[in-house]
């Protein structure tokens, strides 16, 4: 399947927003103060932790009050950045008009004297100072391959492969639309992407998962480096974590959930406690709010970091052997493992949604004016359209209307939307559970058993066919071998 350019664009947007909101802005705000600061490279992780803690706590508080709106969130973010700028300074220059004047003048001089060119050159020079060893190249190549592998499903498909991302996307949309929200720290962490970068919940969940997958490896490398101050330990830790993530039964799948996200912060907590107890506690706080349970992934990742430290320490007396054999060997093994266990780009449809259905719903969301249309479908489409259009359950539709009722020419659906769209599966999506004996309740029977789903889609299809036969306002919006979308124009 060819990569969807819109998805690639969305991915770029999510990545750029993450870098800007979670790293660049908090770093710049602190570095604008007049207090002496350490080199900017050492400030990346603390800035990330500061941002995560602020965004998460703010979103949780506002979400519980149903006040997580873009304006308020943006205002609080500006206040936070300003406060950081002011309180990081030795002198509280916010009260000194002279300081403001001097800073404004310096800024003008910086532009007028084209000093920004020097800043660009300095950045280039600092990049040149970095030493590209064989191990570095291997590790970067490895991380890049892993990143591409983890991203491949998200870049080629709009549906999810597990139920968790649907739930998280719905939760995120509920949060940012100011509706009744069940607290979830891993979702609150992503609120700024929706509120400050205009990314919808499904896209945020889809693309942050592979990014967090990569961040686990980066956090492990950082932790190993903090404890040993050796890059070899960092390379080995990153490699082994990656290997584990793609091993059968390991943590890796491209739809990382709250446990995987928390893993990043727990690892950073361990690392930062050695440097600064405040940042260590902050990272621990974020991790606790994200996923309070101690997970298996965390245990394995911490063990891996210790192994990496051990290997690095053992190899220290034999640097030549270590560099000439161990690193390339590790990297080759990891690369082979990645290629061996990489998931196919196009997995079979399902298990929760047809890929065509996800694409069609995304198209509807983009083409139809906001909140003037309604979609009648299964629950999986709801996170895709939340806040952009109305949604009704297809099970309710089948229950409320009979074939005889909808086939009457005088019959009109009692919805106030301009357009109503019915998504019906011509070939009901395959389900692992077969019949009522394997379903816990009626909802599970209707949607997640083969028998219940087939019955539901068949009945819905009958009703829509009967309605279309007697009503001229019905057209087919989309049709393929698996699904069909009817469109009813309520207003011409």
């Amino acid at each position: 399947m060819i990569m969807n350019p819109h998805l690639a664009l969305d991915y770029t947007r999510v990545g750029a927003a993450l870098i800007l909101l979670y790293c660049v802005l908090p770093m710049c705000a602190r570095r604008m103060s007049d207090a002496p600061l350490e080199p900017w490279r050492r400030d990346i992780v603390p800035a990330f932790i500061r941002a995560c803690l602020f965004y998460q706590v703010t979103a949780i508080i506002l979400g519980n009050w149903r006040l997580c709106f873009a304006g308020l969130f943006a205002g609080l973010t500006v206040l936070w950045l300003s406060a950081m700028m002011v309180f990081a300074s030795r002198r509280r220059w916010i009260w000194e008009a002279g300081q403001w004047r001097i800073r404004f003048l310096r800024l003008l001089q910086w532009v007028e004297g084209r000093a920004w060119r020097c800043a660009f050159h300095r950045l280039q020079a600092s990049g040149q100072r970095f030493e590209w060893t064989v191990a570095t190249v291997f590790t970067v190549a490895l991380l890049t391959v892993v990143f591409l592998q983890e991203s491949s499903f998200a870049l080629h498909n709009q549906r999810f492969r597990t139920s968790m991302p649907y739930e998280r996307a719905l939760s995120l949309e509920t949060l940012v639309n100011g509706d009744d929200w069940k607290q979830d720290g891993s979702v609150a962490l992503l609120a700024p992407l929706c509120q400050l970068a205009g990314i919808d919940g499904v896209t945020a969940v889809r693309f942050t998962a592979p990014i967090f997958g990569l961040l686990v490896a980066a956090a492990a490398a950082y932790c190993a480096w903090i404890f040993s101050q050796r890059f070899s330990a960092a390379y080995i830790a990153a490699g082994l974590v990656t290997l584990y993530s793609w091993a059968p039964g390991g943590q890796g799948h491209p739809e990382a959930g709250s446990a995987e996200m928390a893993c990043v912060f727990w690892i950073l907590c361990v690392a930062l406690l050695r440097r600064s107890w405040i940042y260590g506690l902050a990272a621990g706080g974020v991790a606790f709010l994200t996923h309070p349970q101690f997970s298996e992934q965390l245990a394995v990742n911490l063990a891996i970091i210790m192994i990496a430290l051990l290997i690095s320490a053992v190899g220290r007396p034999f640097p030549r052997v270590f560099t000439s054999a161990a690193r390339p060997l590790t990297a080759t093994l990891v690369l082979a493992a990645v290629l061996r266990f990489s998931p196919p780009l196009t997995a079979a449809d399902g298990p929760f949604q047809y890929e065509a259905a996800a694409r069609a719903v995304t198209r509807i969301k983009a083409e139809f004016p906001r909140n003037r249309w309604m979609l009648v479908s299964t629950g999986q489409e709801l996170p895709f359209i939340y806040g952009r259009g109305w949604h009704a359950s297809i099970a309710d539709f089948v229950r409320e209307y009979s074939v005889e009722e909808v086939s009457r020419p005088a019959f009109r659906f009692p919805y106030s939307a301009d357009d109503i769209l019915w998504l019906i599966e011509k070939e009901p999506l395959r389900q692992a559970a077969k019949g009522a004996a394997q379903a816990a309740d009626e909802y599970s029977y209707r949607y997640f058993t083969q028998l219940g789903r087939s019955e539901l889609e068949f009945e819905a299809g009958r009703r829509m066919a009967a309605y279309a036969a007697t009503h001229e306002d019905t057209t087919v919006f989309y049709e393929d071998d698996q699904i069909m979308i009817y469109r009813i124009r309520m207003r011409n």
């Binding site: 709106f69 007028e112 639309n177």
Partner: protein, 502 residues
């Protein structure tokens, strides 16, 4: 060897001599005119400028020349002149009542109205600061008699304004494509109004600077006429007709500004010196900031009301006519009240000159105290009748059935806010006159902050129409804070008045 009094100490018919305060004042004037010790020695035969100043002062004091009487215009004439400033606004409101449309706005679908509203508000905010800076620099050079320079500066700011408008329009379109606020073609409609109205504000801003208020009204009337003929005569859509009308009005205003500036600069043979854009930006930054913040303050409550509780609406910004109507009604009271700003500023200068003649140069505290009490009395005398006018307007509108329920509440809050806004505006004009723009920026920034802090939670937690409470509180804070600053500065008015002339 000269024997007459130097020219700088003799009055001209067009510029009568300001009587020197003491010998030091004469010495300053002589040195400012280039009469150094050397010149005093060569041309007048005095050893120093100081000796020349001493002699000149005594001969001027001995002449006991009477002060020319102060020309005093009637309070009503001054107030009407001040109200004249808002005549284009009245014209637009009248057009809206009679034709159901105006130069902008009118009977259009809700989503188009939202786009037009967004474009209008953004054009005000973006050009507000530039017009302030343009006024400051143009009037500065006009005041010093450098009319060619004044013309150049005015056009430069016009150019900066046009570039800023284009840049912000492009930025807005880019953000719109990212955040999907307005679907196509509503985004372009908003950008079109932003550009067209922005150019209109720049042109009319130039006319106001040149004190051609009648021309502004004429330009606005022409624009409305064009819109009417295109919409009713040629059946063009209202939005297209309005965009065309605004652009034509903006072009007329710009041509008129060019003509008046040229006519004024023709007599001036002074040189045009180079301007450094960034230094100019530094010097005018407080004025730019104030202009932007002022319009932001005026529209913050509307923006809050338009964006509150829009979760189930077609657009994230909903133009709410039921919120706008009572505020537009309250605008009529504002037009009546705002005339006071001009009359009070004129009276302030008259009073200041009169006090200068009476008060002893050695007793500045007495002069400052008298000006403080003038200020306090003037504000007190305005506020009571102004609030009375507001209540009368509200009662009339309510008893006539124009407003009821939430609309009555909105109108009441708006009418309560406008007298304080007018006081704040007078304070700002005084602070600008004393070259203290940063104090004005602080006052308006506090007003905006208060507007947001009160209006945002109320509009989100109770109902969108409660956003007006933010406007009322903001206006109160703006007036109070700016009044405190003015009173504090008036404690040393003699110094600030002298320093502002430097």
């Amino acid at each position: 060897m000269r024997s007459h009094i130097p020219e700088c100490l003799s009055g001209r018919p067009d510029r009568p001599l300001r009587r020197p305060l003491d010998e030091q004042d004469v010495a300053v004037r002589l040195e400012a005119a280039g009469i150094t010790d050397g010149v005093a020695q060569t041309d007048w035969g005095y050893a120093t400028t100081w000796e020349l100043a001493n002699d000149c002062y005594h001969s001027l004091a001995g002449s006991d020349e009477p002060f020319p009487p102060l020309a005093r215009r009637s309070a009503l004439a001054l107030h009407l002149h001040g109200m004249f400033f808002a005549l284009p606004l009245v014209l637009c409101c009248l057009a809206m009542i009679l034709l159901k449309f105006s130069l902008w706005g009118g009977d259009v679908p809700g989503d188009v109205a939202a786009a037009v509203a967004a474009g209008t508000v953004s054009s005000f905010i973006v050009t507000g600061g530039i017009v302030q800076a343009m006024a400051r620099q143009t009037l500065f050079y006009s005041g010093t008699g450098e009319f060619r320079m004044s013309e150049v500066v005015c056009w430069r700011w016009y150019g900066y304004g046009a570039v800023t408008l284009a840049a912000t329009a492009m930025l807005g379109c880019g953000l719109n494509s990212l955040f999907a606020w307005f679907p196509h073609p509503l985004g372009l409609t908003a950008a079109g109004f932003h550009l067209a109205l922005g150019l209109f504000w720049l042109g009319t801003g130039g006319l106001y600077i040149l004190e051609r208020s009648l021309w502004v009204s004429g330009v606005a009337a022409t624009g409305i006429l064009v819109v009417t003929s295109l919409h009713l005569g040629f059946n063009l859509t209202l939005v297209t007709a309005q965009l065309t009308g605004i652009l034509i009005a903006a072009a007329i205003a710009s041509v008129a500004v060019a003509y008046f500036l040229r006519a004024r600069a023709r007599a001036d043979h002074g040189r045009v010196h180079r301007l450094m854009p960034l230094r100019t930006l530094y010097l005018t930054a407080p004025y730019i900031t104030y202009g932007c913040l002022y319009y932001l303050f005026l529209f913050t409550d509307r923006l809050l009301a338009w964006t509150a509780q829009t979760g189930s609406s077609a657009l994230p910004l909903v133009f709410r006519g039921d919120y706008e109507f009572p505020l537009d009604l309250a605008l009529f009271a504002f037009v009546v009240q705002v005339g006071w700003v001009h009359s009070s500023t004129v009276r302030f200068y008259e009073h200041l000159q009169a006090r200068q003649r009476i008060c002893d140069i050695a007793e500045p505290a007495d002069f400052n105290r008298q000006m403080q009490s003038f200020y306090a009395v003037r504000v007190g005398r305005f506020l009571i009748p102004a609030l009375g006018i507001s209540i009368a307007f509200w009662a009339a509108a309510w008893t006539q059935g124009f407003i009821n329920g939430a609309a009555a509440r909105i109108a009441f809050s708006g009418l309560a806010a406008y007298p304080f806004l007018v006081v704040g505006l007078w304070n700002v004009s005084l602070l600008f006159a004393l070259s203290l723009p940063k104090a004005a920026v602080a006052a308006i920034a506090l007003g905006v902050g208060c507007d947001l802090a009160v209006g945002y939670p109320l509009s989100r937690l109770i109902s969108y129409d409660w956003a007006v409470a933010g406007f009322t509180c903001g206006a109160l804070v703006f007036a109070m804070f700016s009044s405190i600053i003015v009173l504090l500065r008036f404690k040393h008015l003699d110094y600030f008045y002298f320093a502002s002339a430097a």
